[in-house]
């Protein structure tokens, strides 16, 4: 996974907080920077994909590690 400029840990948070916090974090970043978001909400797999699609930010990749979902998002 790409090196992240910023890491956002949303572990323990439920819908819609991971998406809302991701939005806030990405808004504060510069274009081209990469956010790594960590979540424990299984719904966030589809939700983050949908959010990236709608907001034209690029989902570079996602992974599952021991019950945690890790997303790499590049700000467009």
């Amino acid at each position: 996974m790409a090196d992240a400029d910023q890491v956002l840990d949303c572990s323990g948070l439920n819908c819609p907080l991971p998406v809302l916090k991701t939005k806030k974090a990405v808004d504060a970043m510069s274009p081209g920077q990469v956010l790594q978001m960590i979540s424990t909400d299984p719904g966030s797999q589809n939700d983050i994909t949908a959010w990236c699609k709608r907001t034209n930010n690029e989902l570079l990749g996602s992974a599952t590690e021991g019950g945690k979902f890790i997303f790499s998002i590049k700000k467009s």
Partner: protein
């Protein structure tokens, strides 16, 4: 041009407070232009202090579970007879306390937190002036940054929106 969405919020109980604020804040995070029209009991969600409660009475699909103790205990669904629910003083207050505990246990935001997130994200909130008069409220009872309007203002906004929801 961004997607426009409106929601009509008509209910003021704790459980029904969630759909408009979850969908509103999430839609704003998706860069939608969001307007929520609060009318009838939904209007109470715009008061300065949210006092929404939940009632298991007349809410037969609501699982009654305990938010504390070992897992087997939490998994029990308590079937409380209607006459107990209606006669025991403070039953709704108890159910509300238990529901709020469950909400924080599973990492779901409080209604107040979601409302703040909506405000921060620029969700437009319209309060129904007719409901203010109907229930004898004052405009000063409500949070700042909202507009007091009637049905035609809502319908004007809704006619330009791609998504219009009723909750």
């Amino acid at each position: 041009m961004s997607t426009k969405m409106t929601i009509i919020a008509t209910k003021g109980t704790l459980d029904w407070a969630y759909p408009p604020f979850i969908l509103g804040s999430t839609a704003a995070a998706l860069d939608f232009d969001v307007t929520i029209f609060f009318t009838f009991y939904g209007l109470t969600l715009l008061r300065k202090k949210i006092t929404a409660q939940v009632s298991p009475l007349g809410n037969p699909a609501m699982p009654m579970k305990m938010p504390m103790g070992p897992k087997w205990f939490r998994n029990i669904t308590w079937n409380i007879p209607n006459f107990v629910q209606s006669l025991v003083p403070g039953y709704e207050a108890l159910a509300t306390t238990l529901m709020k505990k469950t909400i924080s246990n599973v990492g779901v935001a409080s209604v107040g937190e979601l409302r703040e997130l909506c405000q921060e994200a620029g969700v437009k909130m319209l309060a129904c002036q007719m409901t203010v008069d109907l229930f004898g409220f004052e405009q000063s009872d409500f949070i700042d940054g909202i507009e007091f309007v009637g049905a035609s203002t809502y319908l004007d906004v809704a006619s330009d929106a791609q998504i219009n929801l009723f909750t």
